[in-house]
Every structure is written in C-alpha cells, then in structure tokens.
C-alpha cells in the first residue's frame, strides 16, 4: 500500500467526523433562513467551539483508557473564576486569564493524581471531584453574575477580516500550541501506549504514569480554556448544574462521533473537535427544519445512544468468548 493510504486509514475517524460535520453544516446553512452568512457562521462557531474545548479535554483522558466525568464542572468552575478575575486593566485581565488557566491545570492535576497515584476508578473519582468543582463554582457564584473584560471578550468572539470567526482561530491556536506538541511528545506517545495496552507499554519501558498524568493535567487546561470562552460569550459566571452535566455528556458524544475509541489508545483531538462541531450542528438542525426545540434533548440523546452502540460491532469479530471478559 502507498503511504497516503495508511495516512487515510489512520485519519479515518477524523475524516469521517469532518465529513459528517461538513454535510450537516451544508444542510444547516442551506436551510437556514439567513443562508450562509458570516453571522450564521460566527454564531455556529461560537457555540461549537465551547463544546470543542470540552471534547478535547475528554479526548485526552479517553486516550489513556480513562473517562472524565468532571469536564463539565471544570468548565463551570473556570467560568465562575473568570467572571471574577478577567476584568479591569489589560494587566489585571492577563493575570485573571493566567489564574483561570492555572485553576484548570490544578483540577486536571487533582483528577490525575487521584486516578493514577491514588489508583481509583476514573468514573467514580471524577464524579466526586466534579462535585467538588461544582461546589466551589457555586461558592463563587451562588447566583449568575459577574462580568468580563468586554474588549477582550468581543475581540475573541467577533470576526477577523469581517468573515473569519475569531473563536475558530483561537481553537486552531490551542490545537497548535497544546494538542499537536502533546500528541507528538514522548508523554503523548506514552498516554496512547498506556491506553492501548498497559502491559505491553510497561514491557517496553514507556513512562506510563507520567504520560497519563500529563494527559489529565492538559485536559484540565483545555476545559479551562472552554470556561474562559463561555465567559466571553455570556459576560457572566453561572454555576448551572444542568449545563455542566450537559457538557460532560456532549463531550462524550463528541468524542465518540470523532472516532476516539472509548477503550483507549486510538483517536485524535482533531476528530473530537469535528465530532463536537457536528454534534452541535445536528442539534441545531431541528431549528432550521422548524421542529419544536423540545425535541432537541431527545434527538441529542438518541444520536449519542446510536453512536456508542455502533462501536459494539467489533464484538462480532471476537472468536474466543473469554475475550469478552478481559
């Protein structure tokens, strides 16, 4: 086989997610009453980018064969922190942004420490830390409120050159600065290896623990960037439990749509980003087709259910039934 065919096979999940997204987006804009305008694209991208950041968080953890059920809560917590701190003079604002990102790193580090060094199951550990993060968020914002440096917010949620959504550019920048270096570093490789086969990784002398820990920490950072952008869009901090839960759930849907294996070791954050954008677009399709928005949660739930069930087809290839129980 030629090189490009291997590349194609490796990127299949990502390309599929990209294809779904493009198809859905065309369907969406061509039926949108305003059509394919800069405004429509900007709104769609602003909504999609939020989920994309959270989905990137989920990808990093899922690659290590874990799961992060606290993503939505890190997202809320950093949103609430930002609504206090990302205000005032440029220096104060910059300081605020740094603190918000540091909070995200810390949340990720806590998850990673508990799961890797505390040897707890990721599910329960992150549900519990999620409660802690939500509690702190609620402490900071018992009621929706606060503000944000609007100049910065408008710059990052507006358009560049009149047509390019700034949030998309920011997403691209984060991919280049966080995801690409990580996925190509030794630790990124270790995270993949540990997720695919921890025993084989150990036998090969891979730094498993440090790789996994790095994945959790960076995951927290990505959710924090998401939280920051949420503040930029809404100008407020709001510890809304239901919204946090929804983002956690959607992040899993995005990851699955993006071709990331829930059993670890395979997938890319780029795929998850397209998964997130596609998931958002599918959800919004109902609006342009004049469906009652009431159907949206059901529709999104069914997409998730179908997406996770599709993975089960690999099961029929198993020839030794004992492999079910590995």
């Amino acid at each position: 086989m030629k090189d490009w065919r291997y590349w194609l096979a490796e990127q299949r999940g990502t390309l599929l997610a990209f294809g779904i997204f493009v198809a859905m987006f065309i369907l969406y804009t061509s039926n949108h009453q305003a059509g394919f305008t800069a405004n429509v694209v900007q709104t769609a991208s602003n909504k999609g980018v939020l989920l994309a950041f959270v989905a990137m968080d989920q990808t990093l953890v899922v690659i290590t064969a874990g799961i992060d059920l606290s993503v939505g809560m890190i997202f809320l917590l950093t949103n609430c922190v930002a609504s206090w701190l990302v205000v005032g003079s440029p220096v104060e604002t910059a300081f605020g942004v740094v603190v918000v990102l540091a909070v995200g790193l810390l949340c990720g580090a806590l998850n990673g420490a508990i799961v890797i060094y505390g040897r707890l199951q990721p599910i329960v550990a992150t549900i519990a830390t999620g409660a802690i993060f939500f509690g702190i968020a609620l402490l900071l914002r018992p009621f929706p409120g606060g503000s944000v440096n609007e100049r910065l917010a408008d710059a990052l949620t507006g358009r560049l050159f009149g047509f390019l959504p700034a949030s998309l550019v920011a997403l691209l920048a984060v991919v280049l600065v966080v995801w690409v270096p990580f996925s190509r570093s030794v630790y990124g490789r270790a995270a993949y290896a540990a997720g695919s086969s921890e025993t084989a990784a150990y036998m090969s002398g891979v730094p498993i623990r440090r790789g996994k820990f790095a994945a959790y920490v960076l995951a927290g950072l990505l959710s924090a960037i998401g939280g920051l952008f949420l503040t930029f869009f809404t100008y407020t901090g709001d510890a809304a439990f239901a919204s946090g839960n929804a983002y956690t759930l959607f992040s899993i849907a995005a990851v699955v749509l993006g071709g990331v294996s829930l059993f670890g070791g395979r997938g890319s954050a780029i795929g998850a980003i397209f998964g997130a954008l596609a998931f958002r677009t599918i959800g919004d399709l109902l609006f342009v087709f004049d469906f009652d928005p009431l159907w949206q949660p059901l529709f999104q739930g069914v997409i998730l259910l179908v997406a996770v069930s599709l993975g089960a087809f690999a099961l029929f290839r198993v020839r030794n039934r004992l492999e079910w129980f590995l």
């Binding site: 702190i136 402490l139 099961l315």
Partner: protein, 328 residues
C-alpha cells in the same frame, strides 16, 4: 485490599466488630458522631420524632441506592438514575390523568418505565458490551429527552395519586411512616436475593470474576441484564415515592440522587470494583448521607458547601477502601 492501618485498628476492637467489614463499622461510627455533633446544634436532634423523620427522608434514597448497589456489585455503574427517577415520577403522575384505570395502574406504570430504561442499559452492557458508564449516560439523555417532549418543557401538571401519597407519607402502622416500611420490605427482599438465591450468588460471582462465573456455566449476560432492569425499576419507584411525597413530579427531581446514591453504596463498604459489599453497609451509607445532609442544612451550609463535602468524603473513603491493587 483493605488498608493495613485499618487492620491494625480493627485488631484492637472486640471480636464481633472485628469480624464485620471495617467500612460498615466506620460508617456506623460516623453516624453516631454525626448524631452527637447534631445534638450540639439542636436538642431536638436526638428526639424520636426527628430521627423518624430522618429515616423517612432516608428511605427514598434507600430505595434508589438499593438498585445502585446491585449494579455496583457487578462492577458496573448506573448513571441513568436521575432521569429514571424523574421518568418514574412523571409517568406515574401522567397515568393518573387517564381515568380510574390510570389511577390504579399509575404506580406499576411508573416502575415499568424505569424497568424499560434499565433493560436498554442491560442490553448495552451485557450483550453489546458497551461500558456501563457510557450507555447509562446515553439512556439517561434519551429518557430526559422523552420526558422533555412529554411535558413540553414545563413542570408536569399531573399530580400524584392518592395511593402514591399514601405510600410516601401515610402510616399503615401507627408511628412508622409507610416510606420506611417500604424501604424495609425492599431491603429485606434485596438481602434475601443477595444471600439466599442463585441470582445473588451469581451477582457476587460476576462482580468478583466474570470470567470464572462464565466458565462455571452461569448465564452472566442474563444476570447483568436483570440487575440493570431492577436498578431502573427501583430508581423509578423511588421517583414514584418522591412524587407522592411532594404531590407531583418535577423536571430535575432526580439530579439530587445520583451522587448520594453512589456515595451511600460506596461509603457502606461496597467495592466500586464489584463483588464485595453487604446491604447492611448500604443502609449505613444511606443513613449517613441523609444525616450529613440534615446536619449541613441545620448548620445552614449552602448547597456549595454540601457538594464540596460530598466530593471530599467520597474521595477520602475510596482512598481508604476502594483502591485498585498496586500493579507490580
């Protein structure tokens, strides 16, 4: 798997305590401490009326946690609790609007809806081998979607039937709330199922080592399926009782029960990895959580503080009891 420090402490205790699970003993010790702390805040804390009231509140969580325990014993988890609870409540109330037959069938119909959610979970976990946390999250979302569509996004208008109210708030035996009786009956049934039936043995066997259970000729898939169906049904029944308690169902009434249910089971010493745990521990966990909630509200602790304390307590207890064995 238990911590050596705990073993050392345990060895200094009387033998009848030493024989029991240190987690259960710790949970009961915590209950006593909470009661003492609570009595400092308020004299009425130790009065029989107050304690009975706490037990009544605990029984709703108790019913839900019973199903959760069954699933956790298998080494799985049920994250569809929130909307199984809400669906049970809403569907029971909804059925009540359809004439006398609807009123009569309200409770069974509510439970049936929960069982259906559980069956979907069970098919996903047992037959498609989708990780339980994923499939149960997905069914939770679908159940939510169905309920949103049904209610039109508003609080449901139907109110609970008389029977539901009677079950949740009435007194069949003077002085003993019906909710407590129901929890006692369900608890007794679960203890019986876990200790005396082939199903219970299979649950523990699968939780310990599904491979060995399968090679022993157990239909492990059917057992897992049934456990999820029971969990869904009990969650829905919890919702039915809650609706009876509040006279009607509410959109997000189940949200407040997922974490406490898991916490109650885990704090009661049931291993999150499956295969180990007693119902007595879950009872202790449920009472502990309920008392904790009650004290925090007596102390006027805001919701934020409660969430943080839950999270910290669960992580701390898991680090004590629930760690996976060290690799190499």
């Amino acid at each position: 798997m238990s911590d050596t420090g705990m073993d050392r402490i345990a060895s200094k205790m009387p033998s009848f305590i030493r024989r029991s699970d240190p987690a259960v003993v710790t949970a009961f010790a915590c209950i006593i401490i909470l009661l003492l702390v609570g009595s400092i805040y308020s004299r009425s804390f130790l009065s029989p009326e107050y304690l009975l009231q706490q037990l009544k509140v605990a029984s709703f969580l108790g019913v839900i946690a019973t199903g959760m325990m069954l699933v956790i014993l298998l080494g799985q988890i049920d994250l569809s609790v929130p909307w199984s609870v809400a669906a049970g409540a809403m569907m029971a109330c909804a059925a009540a609007a359809y004439g006398p037959m609807g009123v009569f069938l309200a409770i069974p119909f509510g439970i049936f809806c929960g069982v259906m959610i559980g069956v979907v979970n069970g098919i996903g976990v047992a037959y498609l081998r989708i990780p339980s946390m994923i499939i149960t999250l997905a069914t939770n979302a679908v159940a939510q979607g169905l309920m949103v569509v049904y209610t039109g996004g508003f609080s449901p208008q139907d109110s609970a039937t008389g029977a539901m109210r009677y079950l949740a708030t009435g007194f069949a035996i003077p002085g003993v709330p019906n909710a407590v009786l129901i929890w006692a009956v369900i608890g007794a049934a679960m203890v019986f199922a876990l200790t005396r039936t082939t199903f219970g043995r299979a649950v523990y066997g699968i939780g310990n080592r599904e491979r060995a259970a399968y090679l022993s000729g157990i239909d492990t898939r059917r057992v897992v399926m049934i456990a999820f169906a029971v969990s869904g049904g009990l969650s829905a029944f919890g919702g039915v009782l809650l609706a009876g308690y509040a006279s009607k169902a509410a959109q997000s009434m189940g949200d407040a029960y997922l974490l406490p249910a898991i916490a109650a089971v885990v704090l009661g010493g049931t291993s999150i990895l499956g295969g180990r745990g007693s119902y007595l521990g879950t009872v202790a966990g449920v009472i502990l959580i309920t008392l904790l909630q009650s004290i925090l509200s007596v102390m006027q602790m805001p919701e934020a503080g409660r969430q943080i304390i839950y999270g910290v307590v669960i992580v701390a207890m898991l680090l004590l009891y629930g760690r996976a064995p060290a690799s190499r």
